[in-house]
């Protein structure tokens, strides 16, 4: 692939994402106006209209995919910042994330098998409770379907951002810490972003929870992979 194509693919994808993020903010940030989903939909639609391959477009933006690794390392900074707010409650925080991540993996694998899904979607769904950068890294390490896992993780975030807050409010589980942990664990970046507009205190907790949940999911899946793979 020529350097010009790589430059175009990388800069174009980045510029489109920044534009979609600006549009989502201008619309008030509804959960359905997800900048990642919009960027992907436009790029895929563009590829089909131009008669090009989506894989070729994704390959042209390889520097972005490469930068995902350092970006995951960088998540240590928000974890360290959020950690300070949990002094005296850290054991409960870690226990909650560990059990929440295990519930996410076990429920996805068991439910997927119950509805008759095959090995590939079962593996992809097992990491749906980790935010997509973690899901990709986990699948690449374990040999699972990284792209499908990333897609499942993003859709999970959108569904969680729309459906979870009303349910938690109905169950009287909506204080900042409880809402933030549940949304960070189950709805990752999209859920955290949505909380930022409605419940900023909970959004700070969710930012910490989504990073810890990624770590916990990586640890659990490392142990449970033979069972997940079937």
């Amino acid at each position: 692939m020529s350097p010009a194509m790589v430059l175009l693919g990388t800069a174009g994808t980045l510029a489109l994402f920044l534009l979609m993020r600006r549009v989502a903010r201008a619309l008030g940030g509804p959960a359905l106006a997800n900048p990642v989903a919009a960027t992907c939909a436009i790029l895929i639609a563009g590829a089909h209209i131009a008669g090009a391959s989506s894989v070729a477009i994704a390959d042209a933006a390889w520097p972005l995919r490469w930068a995902l690794g350092p970006a995951i390392v960088a998540l240590a900074v928000p974890i360290a910042q959020g950690w300070a707010g949990f002094a005296g409650r850290r054991a409960a925080l870690l226990g909650t994330v560990a059990l929440g991540s295990l519930a996410g993996i076990a429920s996805a694998v068991l439910c997927a098998r119950m509805v008759g899904l095959g090995a590939v979607p079962v593996m992809a769904l097992s990491s749906k409770s980790a935010t997509s950068p973690f899901a990709i890294a986990i699948m690449e390490r374990l040999g699972g379907p990284a792209a499908l896992a990333a897609g499942a993780s993003i859709v999970t975030g959108m569904l969680g951002a729309m459906l979870l807050p009303p349910l938690l409010k109905r169950l009287r589980l909506a204080d900042d810490a409880t809402m933030g942990l549940a949304m960070g664990q189950a709805a990752h970046i999209v859920g955290t972003d949505a909380l930022g507009r409605t419940q900023p205190g909970a959004a700070r907790v969710a930012g910490l929870a989504l990073a810890l949940a990624g770590l916990a999911t990586a640890a659990w899946l490392g142990l449970l992979w033979p069972w997940v793979r079937g």
Binding site: A74, A103, A150
Partner: protein
């Protein structure tokens, strides 16, 4: 960047299948106790985490040509799993926090 590289090398030596970037994250967490390291990485880290969505996009766009391993009708099954387990995971997490933080 150095920690990402070191994380990859260290991950290969670990008995569990931890992704290299996740090991690098744990290393950086330990080093952030040092003030000079914290000041050095805060701005580039904010820059990188601010565009996480764009870094995810290429992996998802690659699905546009179809997903090997999926059978016809899997889409609806996957949707059912995503809705049911996302709600279940959120509620279990919330209830666990309430129980453990009392």
């Amino acid at each position: 960047m150095a920690l990402w590289w070191a994380g990859g090398k260290l991950a290969a030596l670990l008995p569990i299948a931890a992704p290299g970037p996740v090991v690098g994250l744990a290393l950086l967490l330990a080093l952030l106790r040092i003030g000079a390291v914290r000041r050095l990485v805060e701005r580039p880290a904010a820059l990188l985490t601010g565009v996480l969505g764009a870094l995810i996009a290429p992996a998802v766009v690659a699905l546009g040509d179809g997903v090997p391993g999926l059978a016809p009708g899997d889409g609806w099954r996957i949707a059912i799993v995503l809705v049911a387990t996302t709600l279940a995971t959120g509620v279990v997490t919330a209830l666990t926090w309430r129980a453990l933080s009392r």
